[in-house]
Amino acid sequence: MPLVKDGRPAADTWTTLADDAPVPADGAVIVSLARWRAERAALVARTAPVGVLLPSDAPADAPGDGIAGLALIAVAFPKFRDGRGFTTARRLREEFGFTGTLRAVGDVLPDQYQFLHRCGFDEVELPAGRDAAAWIAAAGPITVAYQAALRDGGPLGLLRRRVA
């Protein structure tokens, strides 16, 4: 599916595996949380990168101490109204020090892109059928923010900072 990364369309080099699909010898794969827990040793023994998909009700500590072995964490947004993923991302970055790729997956709106970015997401997997360019253009940029978050572009006086 199309990706948006750093505000531009990008190719997806990851394969999302169904739980009953065999794990290929190489290639980057995203597995479910259950599979990650059950097959972690085998998954990290491969040479290719592995990622996990967190459902929206999984807290940021769900990957557990294996988090260092993950190159990507995808966070599900079953509905754009379900904003738990914003907190999950910030906790992964700020509390658990996750430095791999954070991907938002599911029902997200273009107007949420900047919020996702400032909560630590690197990329968004677009809902099926969306054209990445139109999606990006739809959200005119806001260049000023009023609170501390991730990826600040520098202070502007008072609580304000430059973003985007």
Binding site: P59, F80, R81, D82, G83, R84, F86, T87, T88, R90, R91, E94, E95, L109, D111, Q112, Q114, F115, L116, H117, R118, C119, A138, A139, G140, P141, I142, T143, V144, A145, Y146, Q147, A148, A149, L156, G157, L158, L159, R160
Partner: protein, 563 residues
């Protein structure tokens, strides 16, 4: 009335170019969204959350646009701008709400980007006036003026306004989130019926800190917020609120919108466990990243510096003389003039509750008149109260009589502030698609019934609050007499409650009294309850105190008998 240039600038947060750029970018973004909607590229379902983030509701008959008035403070320039928009894009008026906001009830979708652009020109917007985000922070309408004030709450309300604006993490919460803050022990901001209530205070060394209440709210399941912290140092305000919101965003219920407010989370897991989780998160994130720098607090405080008051004697002979001479003025002054901490000054309530009028409605011409009077007599500053009235916070006592004459000329000199006809009412079935019953006609009927000012003054302080459905936008739960619209087989009925109270000490949810009544019977019941109170009270006793002393029984009898 001729225009008088403001003598001094109002005590509002003054935008600079950075703030303006932010609002302009936001307008441009919304313009694009509206164009996509009008071209059919966005479905109503996709457009809805976007318009709600910009205060645009679809009501029964038209779009409604809700304008944010941060903590209810406006400059005269802003009020004139709102008048202009009311003329150009609405039917020549606006409606002030219990959330210290302004609503235009008759808006065309295609006009909204232009309205927002016009708002941007007066440093205003409609961001976060709806949606599941942190809403407009509300506070005491006498902030910076009240004699009992310990700390000016506007400083922190402004900090919270900025911090919560398009917060990346907390814009898609389980449900809306309302913060109220007071800086005086006499709580005029109803902090304990908000998701977060803050009482600003000082310790023995003069340091500023906050008492924090979490989980209050009205609506379907009303709760008075429990205290979760007795002392939060100023520098931790943002960190602690981040922690509260973070716990809520993760664990608040999302399966049922009626159980999604933070009050339900606090109630279900218990305040002790909730506080524990917040403290754990707070301990983790406390540090330089979220620390509220005292230098920044000072810079914000600078925006709210007191206006240049003159040194005046505490007693104004001119005012006292006018009161003796003019009984109508004296009656107005008794209900509308409030003590000020500066000698020779007063705060003034402008009642938006004329007999038979729509509570909170104001015409564009009246807005202009108030703006002019504010420039002449009130340092160009106007406040909106949660009781749907306006306030001029700083008026020389010497000017009160002239101000009153100016208000009377604009039809704004009702002498009923704080009395039984100073009724709060939500929009109800006249506008609102969720309503069971009309609120406004009932408020109008009650105010006609009690029109006689001498009778109102004999009754004294009595707060009637009306909501058209259980969502409680009209605060009926905390009305001394509350009235709730209910639907009985498709007909409008009203349920009366007694003994609600929004003040910090004594905050209480009213008890249901008797059966649901027709509109006519409900007005009769209110009158009978008031008459019973007059029979039962001891000299000087307020309605709410009589009720507490004698119990609800004698009053319930009156409600039952009204059917």
């Amino acid at each position: 009335m001729t225009y008088v240039a403001p003598r001094h600038r109002a005590g509002i947060y003054h935008y600079d170019e950075i703030d303006r750029q932010f609002v302009r970018e936001r307008v441009a973004q919304f313009r694009g969204q509206v164009e996509r909607r009008l071209r059919g590229e966005l479905s109503e379902d996709e457009f809805k959350p976007l318009r709600l983030m910009n205060g645009l509701y679809l009501q029964l008959h038209a779009y409604m646009l809700r304008i944010a008035i941060p903590y209810g403070v406006l400059s005269s320039t802003q009020l004139r701008g709102l008048a202009r928009i009311g003329r150009r894009h609405d039917k020549g008026y606006g409606h002030f709400t219990t959330r210290q906001n302004l609503q235009y009830n008759w808006i065309g979708l295609a006009d909204t980007p232009d309205i927002l652009a016009e708002l941007a020109e007066i440093d205003m917007h409609a961001i976060q006036t709806s949606g599941n985000c942190i809403r407009n922070v509300t506070t005491d309408q006498f902030a910076g003026a009240a004699p009992d004030e310990v700390v000016d709450p506007r400083v922190y309300a402004e900090i919270l306004r900025q911090w919560s604006t398009l917060h990346p993490e907390f814009s898609f919460l389980p449900r809306k989130f309302k913060i109220a803050i007071t800086g005086a022990p006499n709580d005029r901001a109803a902090v304990r019926v908000h998701d977060v209530g803050l009482v600003t205070k000082r310790d023995g060394d003069g340091n500023v800190g906050f008492e924090v209440y979490v989980g209050g709210g009205l609506g379907r399941s009303p709760f008075i917020a429990p205290k979760v912290r007795d002392w939060l140092p100023e520098e931790d305000l943002v960190a602690y609120l981040e922690a509260v919101l973070r716990v809520y965003n993760q664990y608040g219920r999302r399966d049922n919108i009626y159980k999604a407010r933070i009050k339900i989370l606090v109630h279900q897991i218990g305040v002790a466990r909730f506080a524990e989780q917040v403290e754990a998160e707070f301990a983790r994130i406390r540090g330089p990243f979220y620390r509220l720098d005292p230098v920044l607090v000072d810079a914000i405080r600078g925006h709210f510096a007191p206006p240049p008051f003159e040194a005046l004697p505490a007693v104004s002979e001119a005012y006292e003389e006018a009161r003796r001479r003019d009984a109508a003025f004296a009656a107005w002054a008794t209900s509308s003039v409030h003590a000020h901490r500066t000698p020779g000054y007063a705060s003034v309530t402008i009642s938006l509750k004329p007999v038979g009028g729509v509570p909170g409605d104001i015409t564009a011409d009246q807005m202009d008149a108030v703006a002019d009077l504010a420039d002449r007599y009130g340092f160009g500053e106007i406040r909106v109260t949660h009781e749907q009235n306006l306030v001029l916070a700083h008026v020389r006592r010497n000017d009160l009589h002239a101000l009153w004459q100016g208000l009377a000329a604009a039809g704004l000199a009702s002498a009923n502030a704080g009395l039984v006809t100073d009724i709060i009412a939500c929009p109800g079935l006249d506008y609102c698609s969720l309503a069971n019953a009309r609120s406004i006609p009932l408020a109008q009927e009650i105010s006609r019934r009690f029109a006689d000012l001498d009778r109102q003054r004999a009754i004294g302080e009595l707060k009637i609050k009306i909501s058209g459905c259980i969502n409680a936008c009209g605060h009926h739960h905390v009305g001394h007499i509350g009235i709730l619209g209910v639907d009985k087989k498709g007909e409008e009925f009203y349920q009366i409650t007694l003994g609600g109270n929004a003040e910090l000490a004594g905050a209480a949810i009213g008890d249901i009294a008797g059966p649901a009544l027709t509109a006519d019977d409900a007005v009769d019941a209110v009158e009978a309850v008031v008459n019973r109170y007059l029979d039962l009270r001891t000299p000087g006793e307020r309605f709410i105190d009589t009720l507490a002393r004698v119990g609800h029984g004698p009053f319930k009898e009156m409600v039952n008998a009204a059917r």
